[in-house]
Symmetry: C2
Subunit: 334 residues, 2 copies
């Protein structure tokens, strides 16, 4: 690999995405992408006695499905990356504790899925392994309980709020294979523009997405028209609008080929999700389900996937802090 421009890495032997898997909750099952997921659950507990245990089960079974679909015995998978939104990333560590694969825990809030794909790609192109797994999850109920209010309170959410996706996505990357390939990655910087409204994550994360988007174009010499689709995860409706406008004002017109995982996963009017979906599991499941399908069917041949994260917690919000954002980008091409 080599570094090009200020922060992009170009792979000499781009890793193949060998297989993906996704499992989502009942609300996601009612959305427009339902048919692309490997499994849709009937309820948020999946037979467990807590939401946290349910989330661990979701990531565990998603990873097992991705391994099974890859045809690679799990003993041959060299390393794995995983992360989630729960305190100390417990969905991942409990969900994957029986996996018996050397494990790197990562945290990038909703950018976690792409952060994992970046690091997995670096390991593979660097010759540290043949097969590397990456996964991420979130769960509406465990996230609401942890970050906001008890669900039983029936608290009203403002129109700018996003709905945390219950779901997980997982990918197996391989050194050799038929593609789609991860050709370039642009890890992002932390950007904090002073937004303090934790019910408006899209606005807090859009400046980070802009920074990574423009840096990616500058580093690679590409422009927005190079890609069949530019997909953020998860700015939601408000963040998508902000990014589209800011990007245009900087000379990068993304109006024609840009969408957001949080916009794609739910039917806004019918599902009452306000500004759209969010959570590590949103980008992870939309990519592993819908977008990977579009790549395999060649409906899309070149995608820029930019996952965005709000690096905040309940304590920092109470202490009056603003919300630092981050965005990591990967270029996926056939």
């Amino acid at each position: 690999m080599e570094k090009i421009g200020s922060q992009t890495i170009k792979f000499n032997n781009p890793p193949t995405i060998l297989s993906t898997a996704s499992i989502v909750g009942p609300k996601e099952a009612e959305g427009p992408l339902a048919k692309y997921f490997d499994q849709c659950l009937d309820d948020e507990f999946w037979g467990e006695d807590s939401w946290e245990k349910a989330e661990s089960k979701i990531i565990k079974e998603t990873v097992n499905t991705a391994i099974s679909k890859s045809g690679i015995p799990s003993e041959q998978i060299d390393y794995c990356f995983s992360g989630d939104l729960l305190n100390q990333c417990i969905s991942s560590s409990f969900g994957l504790r029986e996996l018996n694969i050397p494990y790197f825990g990562i945290f990038g809030a909703c950018s976690t899925f792409v952060e994992g794909l970046i690091l997995a790609s670096i390991l593979i192109d660097g010759n540290a392994g043949q097969f590397v797994l990456s996964s991420a999850s979130s769960h509406f109920c465990s996230a609401e309980k942890q970050f906001r209010f008890p669900l039983e309170l029936g608290n009203q959410r403002p129109p700018s709020a996003q709905w945390t996706v219950t779901g997980a996505g997982a990918c197996i990357l391989a050194k050799d294979g038929p593609g789609p390939y991860i050709t370039h990655v642009t890890p992002g910087k932390i950007v904090d523009k002073g937004i303090k409204d934790s019910n408006n994550m899209g606005a807090a994360m859009a400046p980070a997405a802009l920074d990574t988007l423009i840096t990616h174009f500058q580093d690679t010499g590409r422009d927005p028209s190079y890609y069949d689709a530019i997909i953020t995860g998860d700015l939601g409706y408000i963040g998508k609008e902000i990014l589209t406008e800011l990007s245009g004002s900087r000379g990068f017109n993304i109006k024609d080929n840009y969408n957001d995982c949080g916009v794609l996963i739910f039917n806004k009017e019918a599902q009452d999700v306000h500004s759209g979906g969010s959570g590590c599991g949103c980008c992870a499941s939309v990519f592993s389900g819908y977008l990977f399908n579009q790549l395999k069917s060649q409906a899309y041949k070149k995608i820029l996937l930019i996952a965005t994260g709000a690096l905040t917690n309940a304590t920092t919000a109470q202490q009056g802090e603003s919300i630092p954002g981050i965005a990591h980008a990967i270029s996926i091409e056939l």
Copy 2:
């Protein structure tokens, strides 16, 4: 780089540890390693109005000190890794939000510091960058508040409990330099032997340390006598005793050259720390302060550093779960 054995990576051009820095709190300043730290604080707040903000300031200033000591302008540092114990790793993201270096958030509980060094080494040997920064922190007060009881309660701690270190450590790794070099890394698997006592983390993490230790020796063909020092971080007194015994029973005698960061950082009798120190900042500050000094002075020429983490949180403990452990090892040689 190349993978050797089942899970170790051997670097072809081992990265140099160019500089390190460490800042610790007032209790650590009374311990036997005080003279090796760059700065010892007079109190746990350091002029901030919360422990969380103090921890962010500690990691920020530690990173700035490491950069300053390296002589490398921060614009030339390609990427950074950081993590901590606070929910959603906020010490790192708030502490480093003005750093303007592409950022990877990581979470491995008290193994975080070595996890970061492993990933930073892979980036450098893989040619993704010339200079990569890695840091980790913890804070006694913010950790107690979050994981256990309000400090104001004056809760008694059992003898098996460890004392979370207030402190941070940071390293700048470089592609070229005079050493010490990171020559091999052995990322660990999650190991859960069913220990449920969150006041006995040493016992929970020792099996993971054993797994990584033995795997490292098997993968490299080395034995314990190859190293001048084998250092875990942070099993404390109880975990150290368990690891020594388990390791011996498996044919690897580490009695003569093994110690633990949690044992080294405090004076057990005088400082009332029960089973010793813990926290991401323990291994990070002991390595960045004391051990790096021993390497530079050639008192040690070959170190195996094994950082251990308990991948648990307050909710899993309440839900009756056991404590999954992990341990990551790096071989540092002149």
